[in-house]
């Protein structure tokens, strides 16, 4: 999957996106729905040792329903947040079905504990599609699909011109993921 995404990459096609990246980022990240102030708070408040309350805070910011997980599933996820090392995504496969079944939630936990992982977002996925990087839709945290999504955003970071980076106060994965979300919605 990652191999296909990278070999079919067309930098020219990204130009309109890169040209307006800052604008797209502001459109999404600073929208009322995204609540940029609370996002920034979470950058500081999510820290080791991780607790279920921290996961609650992330859920709340994401606008997700309360987790309906057994205690051992929750513990397993918390432990995985310590064990995982970017860019590994295979660890996700070892989680129980209940935890794996919600990729958005899991990706947000990964993002706030390791900024190098990106939040899974349908609009961002569509944004990547507009750039010629087709990532399959999924309800589950499939390590290969999520890995391709994260890698594609990493690739964009690498090839983007410096004008995309001049001023931002969020991790770069968030900068690109948020911009992609606005770009995907525009389609």
């Amino acid at each position: 999957m990652q191999h296909v995404a990278l070999t079919s990459f067309d930098k020219e096609r990204c130009k309109p996106f890169f040209d307006r990246l800052t604008e797209y980022f502001h459109q999404h990240h600073h929208s009322e729905e995204q609540d940029a102030v609370s996002y920034e708070e979470l950058l500081y408040r999510i820290r080791r040792p991780y607790t279920p309350q921290m996961l609650d805070m992330i859920d709340e910011w994401m606008g997700l329903e309360r987790r309906d997980w057994r205690e051992d599933a929750q513990r397993e996820v918390l432990l995985s947040l310590y064990a995982i090392r970017y860019p590994d995504t295979l660890l996700i496969e070892s989680l129980t079905e209940k935890a794996r079944s919600d990729i958005r939630r899991l990706s947000a936990y990964l993002h706030f504990t390791h900024h190098t992982y990106s939040i899974w977002d349908e609009d961002s996925r569509k944004g990547l599609g507009r750039l010629g990087i087709e990532i399959p839709d999924t309800e589950h945290a499939d390590p290969f699909v999520y890995g391709a999504y994260v890698t594609a955003i990493e690739l964009l970071k690498d090839v983007a011109p410096f004008t995309c980076f001049l001023e931002h106060d969020v991790p770069r994965q968030r900068l690109f993921q948020a911009a992609l979300a606005a770009y995907g919605r525009e389609a």
Partner: protein, 380 residues
Amino acid sequence: MAETEVVESYPTNFEAWIQEFNEWQTRIGFDPSWLGDYRFDIKFDWDTAGGEIEFGDFLGMPKWERRMQIPQQNIRDAIVSMVNVQGDTEFASVEQQNHLLASAPTEYDRKSALRIMCEEQRHGWQMAYLLCAFFGEQGVREAAKLLERNAQDGTRILGSFNEPIDHWLDFFMFTHFIDRDGKYQLKMLSTSSFKPLAASMGPMLKEESFHLGTGANGLRRVVKQGVIPCALIQKYVNKWASTGLDLFGTDDSSSAQWAYVYGIKGRYDEREAAVEADREHLNEASRELYFQELRGEMKRISKVRKEGEPDLHIPSDKFRRGIGKYAGEMYTVEGEPFEGSQGEYEAYLASVLPSEEEEEQLVNEYMQQEWIQYREWKGD
């Protein structure tokens, strides 16, 4: 060693220069093991460099890719001088800052500072490569000098890069004010008629954005925490803002004008600008953009201060200037002419800049507490 031997032993190419660089790291106390798996790569972004000269008297002609394509020796000299100054600042900042790693307030700050130092060294490395690869013996000689001048000895080319950075508040001020100036200088060179120089700027600017972000973010965390009084922070703002403004050079600068005529250094907003450049006031125009940016950023930083704390603001661009039309003039932080003698002005300056006692209090009292909002390192 005799003086002639020093000159004779100058490195002969970039590979030899790398040996000198390794010795420089040891000399300044930067342990190479701190680099981990970081490598000093030469990076070019040829796409953003552009193919045609974008401004000046050679407008529309192909950008120069090699030394011999540069039409005049004085233009070559001007390019060497620009690369030299840029490289000088990169190595200087590492000399100024590396001692701070041992006293970082958090692991996040230590790793951020280390990343900055690695990237500054890479920028210096890139500039040395340009000198060695494109400018023959003259370039190799200048590259060697990049490692000879030293911030601690006060021999770096620009004043700000000889200033001691004694503690972490100064570090955040430096990265906020001086690295922000760096962003301006790099962007002004990103449209250069000398293509390898222009192509070097893209990757450097990507990295530089993290540096000034570390400064702005660090200051916000300090202000938010509320342990160091804003009145004291303001004094450091007064100190560093004027230093940053001076880095843009003299008013009515003829060298800036020539650099524009040659197409080697443009305006900060060269590609976006809708109007012709005022060639006689290029430094003033860039400085004004920088000044307005500083004011906007300081408003953001000030917003998070605790209730009852005074507002933080950027002093007037006339205050405590060492370069330009206000150089050496007596102005208040508000930009009003100071009414009084030179001695009274010295006393006034002492009241609006950090004193030795306050510096002592900062380090031994405030910085002994939880003086900065905690942040965990999570990569970026």
